[in-house]
């Protein structure tokens, strides 16, 4: 088992290398039989119209962002039989095709990694304090939160609503 402890959460403007991240996550533990990873990337369109997004600016809440994602990983560790997890989220200015977010999870068998990876992304989408502002030909606009993302979190039995008008319950 590990000599060096890797950070579980990184918020950074720099790009990341999935292969290097997965290698680092796996290198620590020979019990690992499954690795599942997800990468979110910047699209050049909303509502299917190509070229409508020139770039986007990612804002976050330093301190709370890291804390909230650490808490999500703790929740994933309790819920699923996983060994390790790593989350990277970029902030600042990003262009179409850029990588925005990475979640990687290791476990004995594939099922737990698949589920934990999706759980972490569903949680992050609605509960980690990031905001996207898109640059479009008609000016800049803040991206609206989606009700479908709340529904994705609800399927895990977590009734926290990002989009509702009333304040959400205490976590």
């Amino acid at each position: 088992m590990p000599g060096v402890k890797l950070p579980r959460v990184s918020i950074q403007s720099a790009d990341f290398d999935l292969s290097a991240e997965v290698a680092a996550l796996r290198a620590q533990d020979a019990r690992v039989g499954a690795v599942c990873s997800f990468i979110g990337t910047v699209r050049d369109r909303t509502a299917g119209e190509p070229g409508t997004i020139a770039s986007m600016e990612l804002e976050h809440y330093p301190g709370m962002t890291e804390k909230s994602i650490e808490a999500m990983i703790d929740a994933a560790q309790q819920r699923f039989d996983i060994f390790g997890a790593r989350v990277i989220h970029r902030v600042g200015r990003l262009q179409p095709l850029d990588q925005i977010v990475m979640v990687a999870v290791t476990s004995k068998h594939r099922g737990e990694s698949f589920r934990a990876c999706e759980f972490l992304m569903d949680y992050l989408k609605t509960q980690a304090p990031f905001w996207k502002k898109e640059q479009t030909p008609t000016g800049a606009r803040w991206v609206d939160a989606r009700v479908s993302d709340d529904a994705a979190l609800a399927k895990w039995g977590i009734a926290l609503e990002n989009t509702s008008l009333s304040a959400q319950p205490l976590i």
Binding site: K125, A128, K132, N162, L170, I171
Partner: protein, 83 residues
């Protein structure tokens, strides 16, 4: 009591500051939000009831009924859109 208040994204832009120290009579987050709305301008526009506003106390998202404490860090922000 004295508290620190932070604003993010569209709320930050409407109010015109990212953070400020405030002296408040409010004992709950709901009362603090009402106090800020009463200031008018960008505060009223961005925090008005009927807008989806998330609130965090000491960097944890919470319900507005939560009690405010001296020196607390409070944040108001729109629904999150990361990932």
């Amino acid at each position: 009591m004295k508290i620190n208040v932070k604003y993010f994204a569209a709320i930050r832009e409407a109010i015109g500051v990212a953070s400020e120290q405030r002296e408040t009579q409010a004992t709950s987050l709901a009362a603090l939000r009402d106090e800020l709305i009463a200031l008018g301008g960008g505060y009223a526009e961005s925090l008005t009831r009927g807008k989806a506003v998330r609130v965090a106390l000491n960097q944890v998202m919470c319900n507005e009924s939560v009690t405010l404490t001296e020196g607390a860090e409070v944040a108001f922000f729109p629904p999150v859109t990361g990932g």
